[in-house]
């Protein structure tokens, strides 16, 4: 047999058994699976607990009765008003927060790997602004309003923002520190376009509603949007997981990745489209929520390590938990008035953003 495990001839099955090298121990593998399960439980508990919190308090038994009645378990239903509050408003909203949080965290993780930039996030790269501009154009100009029309407009805007970003970066390539600055510029452009569309063609009420929506709020979430998100988010996560090895390989740049057999261009394009879809589905319903995609992956790396096969599901769950609780905070912090959740994530995110900059020695 081949004593040299590094020789091409050692690729034959069974060569490992004869080799003198014991595999490196992988002590954390089981712990990570356990952590994933624990995080899933935390998420379930968070969703249940957050559903109780808000303008009207809902008890655990009330929650059980609503769910029991709605899911046909034969429990006695609540009074219609409370039942509607929980089932039509509170629950979709909390689930939406979980799904959007997961989406944004996955987007941030993917973008940070694809651009090799620790500060990448759909909000900072202007993708959210692009989606916002697209969605607002559809709403204000009124063609095909309705969930699908708005989502389509948002997707068109997000893809346009990506196209603009790639066009501006075509000389320097995606592996560049410049990408965040360029993203901010693209974002500003689309924010300006949004304002232009609003000023030119919307009345005062629409303008106010749209402005509030663009700040990021879970209040408009209804079941139809939750269903769209519940389909798209797992698909996006699955697509990212399919590229997990490629995302790891991109750490040393396009050339090294390509020399490892990774189709760099194809992977990047696929993942940018996935990111655009996830972002626009979120923006179309709940507006542009910043910093979730930036800070969640950084926090999760401490726990899950940098390998994307492990990091991505952890980030998704952590993002979900994070946004469920920030949204709960947004509901009760200044009750009875509600703060847009995007404002809260920004208030939490900006100091952490500065912390990341400082840790990288860029501030």
């Amino acid at each position: 047999m081949f004593a040299d495990l590094l020789h091409p001839a050692a690729r034959a099955p069974g060569a490992a058994a004869a080799a003198p090298y014991a595999p490196l121990p992988q002590p954390r593998a089981r712990a990570r699976t356990g952590m994933l399960l624990a995080q899933g439980l935390v998420l379930a508990a968070s969703v249940a607990a957050a559903t109780r919190i808000g303008s009207a308090d809902v008890g655990w038994t009330d929650l059980g009765r609503v769910l029991g009645a709605r899911l046909g378990l034969g429990t006695e239903p609540l009074p219609p008003l409370l039942d509607s509050l929980v089932w039509d408003l509170r629950l979709p909203r909390v689930l939406m927060a979980a799904l959007v949080g997961a989406s944004l965290a996955v987007c941030g993780t993917v973008l940070q790997a694809v651009t090799r930039n620790a500060l990448a996030d759909p909000y900072l790269l202007g993708v959210s602004s692009g989606a916002g501009a697209g969605a607002v154009t559809v709403v204000v100009l009124g063609f095909g309003a309705g969930t699908l029309g708005i989502t389509g407009g948002a997707l068109a805007g997000a893809l346009l923002a990506f196209a603009g970003l790639l066009l501006l970066l075509r000389r320097t390539g995606l592996d560049s520190v410049r990408i965040v600055l360029t993203g901010v510029v693209v974002g500003q452009l689309f924010t300006a376009l949004t304002s232009l569309v609003l000023m030119a063609s919307a009345d005062a009420d629409t303008t106010r509603a749209v402005t509030h929506w663009l700040l990021g709020s879970m209040a408009p979430a209804r079941w139809d949007a939750v269903v769209v998100c519940a389909v798209v988010t797992p698909l996006g996560l699955a697509a990212a997981l399919l590229c997990a090895n490629a995302l790891d390989g991109l750490a040393f740049g396009a050339d090294t990745a390509a020399s490892l057999g990774i189709g760099v261009r194809r992977t990047r394009m696929l993942l940018l489209v996935v990111t655009a879809v996830l972002t626009s589905v979120a923006v179309a319903t709940v507006g542009a929520i910043g910093f979730v995609g930036l800070i969640v992956p950084h926090g999760v790396r401490f726990l899950a390590g940098p390998l994307h096969r492990v990091l991505l599901p952890h980030a998704a769950l952590a993002g979900a938990v994070f946004l469920v609780w920030t949204d709960a905070l947004a509901r009760v912090a200044f009750a009875p008035r509600e703060v847009p959740v995007g404002v809260i994530t920004a208030l939490i995110g900006v100091p952490l953003f500065l912390l990341v900059l400082r840790r990288r020695g860029e501030l």
Binding site: A10, N245, G249, A251, F252, D255, T256, A258, S259
Partner: protein
Amino acid sequence: MRITAEGLSWSASGTPVLRRVDLDIAPGETVGLIGPNGSGKSSLLRCLAGLRVPDAGTVRYDGVPVRDLGARGIARRVAFVAQDSALDTDLRVADVVGLGRTPFRDRWRGPDAYDRAVVAAALDRVGLTGLAGRPWKGLSGGERQRAHIARAFAQQPYGLLLDEPTNHLDVKHQLQLMELLAGAERTVLVALHDLTLAARHCDRLLLVHDGLLVASGAPADVLTCENLARVFEVDAELSADALGRPAVSYRGPLRDPAPRSAHRSAHRQGTP
């Protein structure tokens, strides 16, 4: 594995970088690629590794054109080590070396016991076993370079293409690395700045200048005073060591260098 190139030309945004390069590297041969900054060494390595599509000409591995192999097919035959790019990653050393297993795995699959055994062997080969769990950020330049070499070996390659792998290494590690490459029984093409090091360890040297392959042969035939004056613009003195291999020492740069080619200014070192 035999690596050949016929009539290889490549240009970067209109400026020719490689001009009709022909080369033939025999299986198991260790070949040094030498030439001044901007002569086209990096670009040649990248074309040979299938990372750049040449404007004209063909690269073949054992007679098979590289463009027919696909990225994975290439990665299963040849490992490429670029010049170290300092960067911010949270990867651990073993993770980086494990990247070398990527071409052998399904896209989403994690490493199995065999992969980890190969990584352990690769780390041992470059003497980094003790640093397996260290974060990449905490490594010195030399340790990073050796980890990249280990990553290349983890690819179980038939051929190795390396772009100045001895940069950042101290003398001992330079010598260790060159002995490792020369003794690896793979087809090796390694770009080097240190001419004496190249002469000591390589079976053959390729000298490139302005994108042209200007000399190829045994170190003693390539490293001549005339070649060094013409290509490197230095006044050099050649002696032979105990084994008859040439050693280069320099009297200084040529006072009156030959007029530079108009193309030179466009060839930047390390042009991606």
